[in-house]
Amino acid sequence: MHRVCLPDFARCVPLLPAILASMLACSLVPASAEPNHEATPTTPARLDATVANPSFVFAVFPAAAAASVPRTIFLSFTDLACADFVFTLDTSLLDSRNQVQLRTQAAAVACPTSPPAPAPIIRNFQFTPTKPGTITVRWDRGGGALAVETLAAKVASRYDVSGMWSDPATNGSGIALHHRRATDNAFGTWFLFDSNGDTRWYTLQFGHWLQDGSVLTGLLFEVIGSCTTPNLVACPATGGVPRSASGDHFTLQPAVVRITFQSATRARAEVSNLSGKPLFSSDLTRLAL
């Protein structure tokens, strides 16, 4: 697959027909996952600091979308930091039996410290359905069977939602949404605050439309970066969504955002973690400039 990758804001320029496909292609492992021996130290997503360790996550995003929309399997579990795992995504039964199987093989462990420290292990894998129907995704470490729905057709947006959206109840924050109606791609940044009252921002990516086109769902990623210019308190810098050294998977789990547009000027945003735990919601109004 041809791809051109730029980190984050310009993660992928649209040389591909759809930016979503290209973003996933840039970020995640190909459909037939190559063995991965990496155990990446992680920190919890600040959107959900109550989860000190993502002890067990097994989720697919998007759970419903049209054929040819790549689906991402997010998994995390806690094991020894020195552990070495090989993951294999088996899609050989995807077309014939609508099944995807993720297998985990633990390799020999040679821990340098005693006792060995536990650490969260986070990975993501990708597959792309080709026909309408329901696919069952299983992981041999548990989590049950996830049902992934493939719609007969892509859902088109009902409104042009480009603009600045804010909740009057939390009007120091807001979402900057950029929506290209021709392709229906939507990209956003959500400016929030941390518990100290300092500014934080998150990027909304992999957005797609659901239901009658009035629902936009996507992933909300924390960005990581640092201004290194001397004497500056803040400055533009490289950075973005944290990834493994090899770049093939994220090292922080994103949150899931679902924005239901009641009209072109009013919406409700609901943010949850990958396991479905609600984090916060906002009743949004589009800023009239």
Partner: protein, 271 residues
């Protein structure tokens, strides 16, 4: 309608009024401006302060109705504005020297020009001795050459970017600059771009970057990041966004003395 960046409390609620009022000042705007009381807020992209007696205006050039922030540093205690000579093109900041103010962050005052032209700004002692001088320029507002709505980023610092929302009808622009803090509090930081004015025939968009702080009571679980109300904002510098063509621009940030702090060459994200 008067607007002052230093007085924002409800950030987003104020934005429509701010942008539109600043781009199209009414007669009431021109006649109503008065200086705000002196404050000691901390305006900075930078950490450095000078013990020298310095005087600066930010933004140095803008349109009628755009509040300017006047910065006076050094041993300048109890600074007050004297507008009695504005008709002659001179604005005076009178101060009483105060040792306690030496080496402190600059004192800031707000002033909104009422007519086009240059205004000489003097920092004077009570007996009329001038300790520092600068100028501010007020120009006629231009109309933008092109709509800049979209996400802009610099390929060299491509984890950062500016989101611009540009209303074609009013020509008002609201921006948010997404960047990163420095150690030890490195992490994603955003700044609100306000008082944005088109100048130089619609090629230059100039305004002020504000750092917003949240209200003390979080609206979500402790330790989590979440949407919150704004408790206040302080200017951290001025910003000049110069269009090179429809999809390329340079943006430069300046500190309160007018010194360039960083420069980015931006591309509009195409998606």
């Amino acid at each position: 309608m008067r607007t002052s960046g230093l007085r924002f409390r409800l950030l987003l609620a104020c934005l429509p009024a701010l942008s539109i009022a600043d781009s199209m000042p009414s007669h009431a705007d021109i006649g109503a401006a008065t200086p705000s009381p002196a404050t000691t807020s901390v305006p900075r992209f930078t950490q450095a302060y000078s013990d020298q007696t310095l005087l600066a205006v930010s933004p140095r050039t803008s349109t009628i109705g755009t509040p300017r922030t006047l910065f006076a540093s050094g041993c300048t205690g109890n600074v007050v504005l004297d507008e009695s000579a504005v008709g002659n093109g001179i604005l005076v900041l009178r101060y009483t020297p105060a040792i306690a103010q030496c080496g402190q962050p600059p004192v800031t005052l707000s002033y909104t020009p009422r007519s086009v032209g240059r205004l000489r700004v003097l920092l004077q002692t009570g007996n009329g001795d001038t300790a520092a001088a600068t100028e501010m320029e007020t120009v006629t507002a231009s109309h933008s050459l092109t709509n800049i709505d979209g996400m802009w980023y610099d390929p060299d610092t491509n984890g950062s970017g500016i989101s611009f929302h540009h209303a074609t009808g009013s020509d008002a622009v609201f921006g948010t600059w997404f960047m990163y803090g420095a150690q030890p509090t490195a992490g994603p930081r955003w700044f609100s771009l306000q008082n944005m004015q088109w100048q130089q025939g619609g090629v230059l968009l100039a305004g002020t970057a504000f750092q917003v702080s949240a209200q003390g009571r979080p609206a979500c679980a402790a330790g989590d990041d979440c949407p919150r109300g704004a408790s206040g904002s302080v200017p951290v510098g001025t910003v000049g966004f110069t269009l090179l063509d429809q999809n390329n621009a340079r943006v430069e940030a300046f500190d309160w003395t007018g010194r360039s702090t960083f420069l980015s060459f931006l591309k509009r994200l195409s998606f």
